[in-house]
Symmetry: C2
Subunit: 442 residues, 2 copies
């Protein structure tokens, strides 16, 4: 269960201070990614759904208040104020599955400043991580070029919950299945899996293991053929398929060695035996660059199991996300810190044929453009249609199809930059000058 | 609550097949890391405690069995067999906090093969991740050279649960506190935190924010001084400290810009004001290499907040861990796959003055050596003393002190390699030849 203690201590300090001072004015925070990682031409928005659930259920339980009082020294008046705190604000966000760029708000939240501050840690965590994974997985989808992909990451993700999020985020961009049984149950995803080397090794010979497994799962057997010798393994699989008269959903899996020549050898041996319907599945430390290389080389692989390196987004395990105050009590604000400057005010992103424009929320939609942020929560309740993973996948497919080649390419992508609207550019200049004056900086 | 569905589908397939065939012989699986990441001279064992909890509670709930039957097609006999499955095996493991090397078993588990296989995914996941983080955090401890470290990673870890594990693993190697309130509660850790830039911005001027915060938290104020202009911010903090007569636990925090010169300027301004007792805290995208550079340069920084890059172990977000069958039904086995060969049999690691020796479990302890693996579970119940995070920290400190310089150094470390005992080397050769024969490989 989400808990209001899923936060950093400084959020509690600030909230306590705001509440004590009666500072209950509305604040708008904007969650966005400042810079894309080196090897990313775009990001895929993800993580919104769990955040909305967290916001709807936000409250301090009695035992949590007790802990804050007895162990962290918060006084009774503060605990009393925390006790009645709920999230009753508004949220605009980019729907999950959509392609986004640097500086584009993924989410904007407006609420009294104490509660808006308290939820920062959770929102940043969940959106940062799921966006990181969806963006990595999208690169696999590009690389696989229509071939099947299966999420095999569970055993080496950064924790068990991370594995659930990885299964969800990979499904969002079009992976066909996951090996993760609990994620399959939780999110209604197809699950896939066959046998491990240990299974083969627990029988006296490989053939016995193949016969046993195929007898037990005659309609879904993929033979793992590389435990001893891959080509021998393929021949043994063919014999067992014939002996048991198997016909449905058959495959062999290659999990080690040089996959391109092994897949070609395996395909040839299978085809020579008339087994054109037996699919070749490849796995073993693959990432999108390996998949791309194999697909471009023409390796006869029908499906890829990708694991750890996608499940932790090994080349870019986080994105540079921030949650910045952009408006307080009706006054736009921005951050001046060196190298961390932000743009003020509630925003919208307009996507059009000439690219994306980051604008103020209340600007009119330019001709031929579409707004990316939509209201998803009003007064603390979800609004609009309930969005499923299928909805997200359709949004992703449509956005991917429109993405320029320079953003899609896997090596040295050149990410498009959103430009600021004229009104937002002007406001940024004005507020910046005003804040510098106020800060006493000449 | 841990669930037996926290596993990959292929584990369920294999377990179902074993149970159907009455294959209830004991299997021993060994969990170890094959190769260290490029920038690691050693690893720190972590993640054992949650694994023991998972094993003790392992069982299929009725609704899980229902799901397996109705959605994944497992038959009634298999569901019946799953229903009564418990973990009643034995576990030997390296206690959390100890330094380990490549190929050294972190954990060895012996149980009937079906259940031993089912728990693979969870054990690998948790031990891989926590070991990854503890090993990264250990490098921060080396870099900080006695200065305080605080875990600031929560907002960008790979999920919320990951943040809990990061708080736990960083505490294990000696971090003094975490910003993560829930982790503090869960693991009894000190929590730390002050204010964000948004707090400063929500007041008309910086000074008002400083006065407000220090009034509310007079005994634990760290002033964030870089919202507008860092040196101005330090002067304002000094004024407020004087005005309010603050004396306890005072600090300033630098979160942007060039930290070395800024810290020196801040220290000078503070010292000139007689405020030698005000500590300087640095944060902002730091990792162990930044901390090392600042410490070596002599920057007057008293404490470092390290976040994302440590919390996801950005340069090496996973370790190459495996869970391999090493014995089945009393017969040592090994894996022959290209580049993935393993050593057979139940093992022990002996640590001595000449380095580590990987041996068979039943070999006598060599003179002057200490065994790393200890029994932690017998017949499915924990055994031996309950180990706390404090125990783990002491083990880490002792092991770190004995680690050779080439393993400790942060740049291009040269990890020591464990050697195989003569008996293990011989057994490996014998079993390998025997398995190749059985596999029909000439």
């Amino acid at each position: 269960m989400p808990s209001a203690l899923l936060t950093d201590l400084y959020e509690l300090n600030m909230a306590a201070s705001y509440l004590r001072r009666g500072m209950d004015q509305e604040a708008t925070f904007s969650l966005f990614v400042r810079r894309l990682p080196a090897n990313r031409g775009f990001l895929v928005a993800a993580g919104l759904e769990p955040c909305l659930g967290f916001l709807e259920d936000f409250r301090f339980e009695e035992e949590e208040l007790e802990h804050l009082g007895s162990r962290l020294g918060f006084d009774d008046a503060t605990l009393e104020a925390f006790r009645s705190l709920r999230f009753e604000g508004d949220v605009w966000a980019v729907p999950e599955g959509r392609v986004v760029l640097a500086d584009e708000p993924l989410l904007e939240l407006t609420a009294p400043i104490a509660v808006a501050q308290l939820v920062e840690t959770y929102l940043l965590n969940v959106i940062t991580f799921q966006t990181t994974i969806a963006s990595k997985a999208a690169r696999c989808v590009i690389a696989a070029d229509g071939r099947d992909l299966v999420d095999f990451a569970f055993r080496r993700t950064q924790g068990v919950d991370a594995a659930m999020a990885v299964a969800r985020a990979t499904a969002m961009v079009g992976f066909g299945a996951t090996s993760n049984v609990e994620a399959g149950r939780r999110y209604g995803l197809p699950v896939a899996g066959t046998m491990a080397h240990s299974y083969i090794e627990s029988f006296p010979i490989e053939r016995d293991a193949f016969v046993a497994f195929a007898t037990d799962f005659p309609t879904r057997t993929t033979f793992l053929v590389d435990t001893y010798d891959t080509v021998n393994g393929v021949r043994t699989a063919i014999e067992v398929i014939r002996e048991l008269g198997l016909t449905e959903h058959l495959g062999i899996r290659l999990d080690s060695g040089d996959l391109d020549p092994l897949a070609r050898q395996a395909r040839r041996v299978l085809d020579e035996a008339g087994m054109h319907h037996v699919r070749i599945f490849a796995s073993g430390g693959l990432d999108e660059m390996d998949v791309d290389r194999l697909v471009r080389a023409g390796a006869p692989i029908d499906a890829f199991g990708v694991g750890t390196r996608v499940g932790v987004s090994a080349d870019a395990p986080y994105v540079d996300s921030v949650y910045k105050l952009v408006e307080y009590d009706g006054r736009p604000v921005l951050k001046l810190s060196a190298g961390k400057a932000t743009a003020p005010g509630r925003k919208q992103v307009f996507r059009g044929p000439g690219g994306d424009v980051i604008a103020l929320r209340n600007e009119p939609i330019p001709e031929g453009h579409e707004p990316l942020l939509v209201p998803v929560m009003e007064g603390g309740r979800r609004t609009g249609p309930r969005r499923t993973l299928t909805t997200a996948r359709h949004l992703f497919e449509a956005d991917l199809a429109r993405l320029p080649e320079r953003a899609r390419r896997l090596q040295t992508p050149d990410p498009p930059k959103a430009r600021l609207s004229e009104a937002l550019g002007e406001l940024t200049g004005t507020i910046r000058a005003e804040m510098l004056r106020r800060a006493g900086v000449p």
